[in-house]
C-alpha cells in the first residue's frame, strides 16, 4: 500500500558506460573534499584555543575572595534558598581569633558544595548573594567519570589567592541593572 507520494520507485535500469567507469563520480566526490580544505574552519583547537564568550555566559561558579585574600562568603544561605535546583548545600562555622586573614566576617562557610549535576546554571545564586561572593564564570565544567566527582567543594570553588578569577565583566553587566 502506498502511504505517501514521496516514495521512490527504484530504477533498475543498466548503468551507462560513463557510469560504469566510476571515475567521474570519484573525482566529483574528491572535488567536494578539496573545496572544504579551503573553507573557514568550523571547529576550534580546544583547549589551546577557546571561543570568545558573551559577558553574560554562565559557566562554572567561583567563590570570590576580597582584595586582602579573605573569603567573602558568610554562609548566609541565600544562594541555597534561591537555587531552583536545590544544588547548593553549606555548613557554617564561627571564625576563631587568628583567622581574620582567612574569612572576612565572623561567620564563614566551613563546607560549601554545589552539585554540578543538579545545577542548571541559571545564575540566581549570584543574584541572591549579598556579599559579592559567588559568581558564574566563563569556565566550562569538565566531564568526569564518577557522579561524586561532580559535587564541587570549597577546594574547587574558592579561587586561589595567587590565581584570581576575573569577574569584572559580569559585575559590569549587573551594574547596568542596578
Amino acid at each position: 500500500m502506498q502511504l505517501t507520494n514521496r516514495s521512490k520507485v527504484i530504477a533498475k535500469k543498466e548503468m551507462s558506460f560513463m557510469e560504469r567507469l566510476y571515475i567521474p563520480a570519484i573525482l566529483g566526490g574528491l572535488a567536494i573534499t578539496i573545496k572544504h580544505l579551503f573553507k573557514k574552519k568550523v571547529s576550534l583547537r580546544y583547549p589551546e584555543v577557546t571561543r570568545a564568550f558573551a559577558p553574560v555566559y554562565r559557566g562554572m561558579h567561583v567563590l570570590k575572595r576580597d582584595e586582602l585574600g579573605r573569603e567573602n562568603c558568610t554562609a548566609c544561605g541565600l544562594c541555597a534558598v534561591a537555587c531552583p535546583a536545590e544544588a547548593i548545600t553549606m555548613d557554617a562555622a564561627e571564625r576563631k581569633s587568628g583567622e581574620e586573614n582567612l574569612y572576612r566576617e565572623e561567620k564563614y562557610a566551613a563546607k560549601y558544595e554545589i552539585n554540578m549535576l543538579r545545577c542548571i546554571f541559571c545564575g540566581l545564586c549570584e543574584e541572591a548573594c549579598p556579599k559579592d561572593a559567588i559568581y558564574l564564570t566563563d569556565r566550562i565544567v569538565p566531564s568526569e567519570y564518577k557522579r561524586n566527582s561532580f559535587i564541587y567543594g570549597k577546594d574547587i570553588l574558592v579561587e586561589k589567592v595567587d590565581e584570581r578569577i576575573d569577574v569584572s565583566k559580569r559585575k559590569n553587566e549587573y551594574s547596568i541593572l542596578n
Binding site: T74, C76, A80, E86, E94, P130
Partner: protein, 332 residues
Amino acid sequence: MPKVTIDGKTIEVADGTTILQAARMLGKEVAPPAMCFYTNLKTSGGYCRTCLVKVSKGSDKDPRPMPKLVASCRTPIMDGMEVQNNTSPEVIDARKGVVEFLLINHPLDCPVCDQAGECHLQDLSYENGSAKTRTEFERRTFNKIEIGNKIQLHMTRCILCYRCVKVAEQITDGRVHGVINRGDHSEISTYIEEVIDNDFSGNVIDVCPVGALTDKTFRFKSRVWFTKPMSAHRTCDKCSGKVTLWYQGDEVLRTTGRKDQWGEVEEFICNTCRFDKKLTSDWTIEGPTIVDKHSVISANHYEGMIIPNELTLNDIKKLPLLEKNTDGNTEF
C-alpha cells in the same frame, strides 16, 4: 461598647482596648506593625513608634482630629473614633522615617545574623523602609558582654524595644538584666556581667524582635529557612511544655515558644524545655507548624500548601457532556 473605624472597617470592642489591639482584631491588612508592644508583657509599647496611626476623628462627642500621629499601642479607643493606618500617606511617610531611625545604628549584618528570616526589623524595613541609607556616620559599637552560655547578646543589633527588660521584670522573679546608660549610649546589660540563670530567662530570645538576643545553642548551626518547624509538647512541671521544634533532618536544632501570627509567643516556656531537651524522644510531636506561605521559612517546604483542585481523567468523564453548537464546534 465603643465603635471604632480603622481604614474604613468598623468594629465594636470592649472599653479600654487600644487602637492596635482593635486593628489586630480586624486582621492583618489594617494592623499597624509593632516592634516593642507585646500583648503578654504589661507596660510594653510606646518606645519604637512604628505603630503610629492618624486619628482623623477623635470620637463622636469630640470629632476633632488628633493634632499629631499617635502610637496606636498606647492610645485607647473612643466611641466613634476614626483611624487611618495604611490609607494615610502621612502615616506611611512617618513610618518610613521611623524605620530609618531604627536602622541608623543597626549593623545590617543579616547574612551573619541567626534571626534573619524571622526578624521583625527585616520585615518592617522591607515593607516600609527605603533601600538606601542617608547616614554618613559610623554605626555605634559596644564592648562585647557575655551573658551566659545559653544566650548570645549582640548589642549592636538592639533597637531598645525594652521587651527583654519587661520579661526580666515580669516573667522571671529576680530582675537580673536591664538597660544601662541613656539615649544613644543605652545598652542592654546584666549588671556587673551577671549571668542570667533564671528558669524563664530564655524567653528574652523569643521576645527580641531583632537578632540582639539569640540562642547560643543554635548559633550559626543553620539558617532559619533550612529548618522545619514542628509543633510538639512534653509534660513539664515548670511551664506548659508547648513548643515549636526546629528540625534539620532528624536533628532538633532549636526549640522556641509557639508564635502566633503577630510573632508573639502564646505561652512562655522554661529553659529546660528550650535548651536541654533536644531529642525527638523527649517530645510528643503534634505535626508540622503551618508557616505563612509568604515567609522565607516556607521556602521549599510544602506543608500547609493549598493544593489546587486538579481534574483527573475520571473527573472529566463525570462532567456533563459539553453541548455542541449547530456548526459542530464545541463551546466552552
